[in-house]
Symmetry: C2
Subunit: 115 residues, 2 copies
């Protein structure tokens, strides 16, 4: 995954890649104290196996379509659709068409040890 | 702000309101353990005065355009643009055109008191 992190106060363009999609790569937009935001590119038929993260996440389809298996159900996300998932919820993705999706992860920080 | 909370694993349609925008209202999509997500509707000329929240936020323009003053700069967000702001960063919004924007807030939880 290419790294090209945005700074706070920087505008990130999430317009559909369109004809440039097939040459695009998944990108980590930023990872900071509370949030990690990435834009995943998945070509049709490509899958991301089931996995989970500690915090809640949202998955927003920017273009194409993806199938998300999570929370005991399967959802098809098309452009403009957003799905939010509980922390620790296993989820798997499958691109039904060439797709890019925005994933926002709430990071869980370990509280400082008691003094 | 109308309340109509989504559940985990529920697909939320964030397609532009288009011709329905003038009749739309700001809506809290969900607020759970780690994240609060809302879709704000601001008619042209309407402002949201400077304020701040504890956690980091992202502001994503769905339709129209908004001016965001934050982090010592002013940004114009158009459809597909996303801005992320540090926690506690004061920010103000002004709709340049009738607009709807998605706001994602990382909630700060007070760690449980040490035993």
């Amino acid at each position: 995954m290419a790294l090209k992190h945005a700074d706070p106060g920087q505008v990130i363009d999430l317009s559909p890649y369109g004809s440039r999609l097939s040459a695009a790569q998944s990108i980590a937009l930023f990872k900071s104290e509370d949030l990690e935001v990435m834009r995943l590119v998945l070509m049709a038929g490509k899958a991301m196996p089931s996995h989970h993260v500690a915090g809640e996440i949202t998955i927003q389809c920017i273009e194409g379509s993806v199938e998300v298996a999570a929370e005991d159900a399967t959802h098809v996300l098309r452009p403009g659709h957003l799905l939010y998932l509980s922390g620790r919820a296993p989820h798997a993705l499958l691109a039904l068409e060439d797709a890019s999706v925005l994933v926002t992860v709430a990071l869980k920080r370990i509280p400082p040890a008691a003094a």
